[in-house]
């Protein structure tokens, strides 16, 4: 039990050190997940204690940058949860079509798979031309990957299946070019995407959005932080704008629940009222 207590202190100190030195704030993240990632990284890094890791990251920015990539979960997929993208196609896209200009914020976009999915969907629904997609993430290195739009070819089979299940109108292969074991997404999909860094924990409101997509980001936050982010989303959406969460995330317990109505409960699609 002694070790466990010390380990808890060490993890809290490490998180504090990251915040004080680099400004990234993990203090209100769910502890179980962050602990798993710190310990997983410790065994990989060859360091023997979390305190050593803390010392190292304070004096070695490169080490920190690598650790930062490991602390946040950056696992994504094209058309992840096909039924969600099908619902966006059927319910949200037709509403967006009525707007002369459409502003979309993809918060916590990670390596961009879902952003490209959204771009494809909007193009097929005739909305893309009038849209601007702001794709943001806390992590520069991850955004860089998203910007490049290069993905491993071995994922494409699953993505193609997802695309079909999500109601795709064309052939998924039309949207990428294969080079050896990599695929490059069609460059024209990027035309209306603005990639930029934004920290949901510390940065502010993001304009008058028609649609905010933030899926599987809030699951890593504690309830207080979730609530602040819901407030941020409420202030960033125009009246009637849509908010889309991950399939296991909910607005139900939030102090901002009254600012939204549920459009499709199962797919976690809400609308600002």
């Amino acid at each position: 039990m002694d070790n466990r207590e010390n380990e808890k202190i060490e993890i809290d100190l490490l998180i504090q050190a990251i915040f004080l030195k680099y400004g990234y704030d993990f203090r209100e993240y769910s502890k179980a997940s962050i602990r798993r990632r710190i310990l997983g990284n410790l065994s990989k890094s060859g360091l023997s204690t979390i305190s050593e890791m803390q010392h190292r990251l304070l004096y070695d920015r490169d080490f920190f940058e690598k650790l930062l990539l490991e602390l946040t979960v950056n696992v994504s997929a094209m058309f992840r949860d096909p039924s969600f993208f099908k619902a966006v196609r059927e319910i949200v896209a037709s509403e967006l079509k009525k707007r002369p200009l459409v502003k979309i914020w993809h918060a916590g976009c990670s390596t961009g798979e879902e952003v490209y999915s959204m771009a494809i969907l909007l193009r097929e629904e005739g909305v893309y031309g009038n849209s601007t997609i702001y794709a943001t993430d806390v992590n520069e290195a991850v955004l860089d990957k998203a910007r490049k739009g290069i993905f491993p070819i071995d994922r494409m089979k699953a993505y193609t299946q997802n695309y079909k299940m999500a109601g795709g109108l064309a052939s998924f292969a039309d949207y990428y070019t294969a080079r050896y074991d990599l695929t490059i997404m069609d460059g024209t999909l990027k035309k209306n995407i603005v990639f930029s860094d934004h920290n949901l924990v510390t940065d502010g409101v993001f304009g008058e959005m028609d649609l905010i997509v933030c899926r599987n980001v809030l699951i890593y936050f504690n309830r207080d932080l979730q609530d602040r982010v819901f407030g941020l989303f409420a202030s960033s959406l125009r009246k009637g704008g849509f908010l889309c969460l991950g399939s296991k995330e909910t607005l139900m317990f939030s102090a901002h629940a009254n600012s939204f109505e549920s459009v499709m409960k199962k797919e976690k699609i809400y609308r600002r009222i």
Partner: protein, 202 residues
């Protein structure tokens, strides 16, 4: 020994191929007011819904549901990890979900659930590995035992697929290896009479 004097708070179960039939047997034997919280990670298709939880809830006396994010963990309830998410236990006895990398090609991963539960519940935890064609859960069960918890494994000769129970037996040196039909009764006795239990070295 300590092992014989403690009261268990929670049970974690891991299952893969053949798991639903085994779970039906194990959970079906438990009473409505089973005192422990039960958390289950079972390998399943990422796009599946909660149909299996709903039908188990109908069939079993004990309450069965899919775990919700931040849900408070209560005794007398069986919580399943949602498809395509890892399920983790927080210090505050609530659930966290994660879409982090698959472990042993699995999300939910049994190891992820077991390790986080072992950290929170320590020697108040029981872990059970059922049928499966994979090594997931072996490392997690070892951690449960190392934290002072009780390690249980389905007798591989009664498992539809024996890879997972065999891997768990090799890795964790479990306290009890039980035929599938006897697991439910064993858990029930244990919950009714925790002092009556002795581990094999207890």
């Amino acid at each position: 020994m300590l092992n014989s004097r403690k009261k268990y708070k929670a049970l974690v179960i891991g299952a893969s191929s053949g798991g639903w039939a085994a779970l039906r047997k194990v959970l079906g034997a438990l009473p409505r007011h089973f005192p422990l919280a039960i958390m289950v990670a079972v390998h399943r298709h990422p796009h599946s819904d909660d149909y299996l939880e709903t039908s188990l809830d109908h069939e079993c006396a004990i309450r069965v549901k899919q775990a919700d994010e931040k849900e408070v963990i209560k005794g007398g309830t069986v919580y399943f990890a949602p498809p395509n998410y890892h399920l983790l236990v927080e210090d505050s006895h609530t659930f966290s979900l994660s879409v982090a990398e698959a472990v042993h090609y699995a999300r939910p991963s049994i190891d992820v659930l077991f390790e986080s539960a072992a950290y929170v519940y320590g020697d108040r935890l029981m872990g059970l590995i059922l049928t499966g064609a994979n090594r997931d859960g072996a490392e997690g069960l070892k951690k449960i035992k190392a934290a002072g918890g009780l390690a249980l494994v389905q007798d591989p000769t009664t498992a539809e697929r024996d890879t997972m129970p065999r891997a768990a037996i090799t890795a964790a040196n479990p306290d009890h290896i039980l035929p599938c039909d006897e697991i439910g009764g064993f858990l029930k006795d244990l919950a009714d009479n925790p002092r009556g239990l002795t581990g094999k070295d207890g």
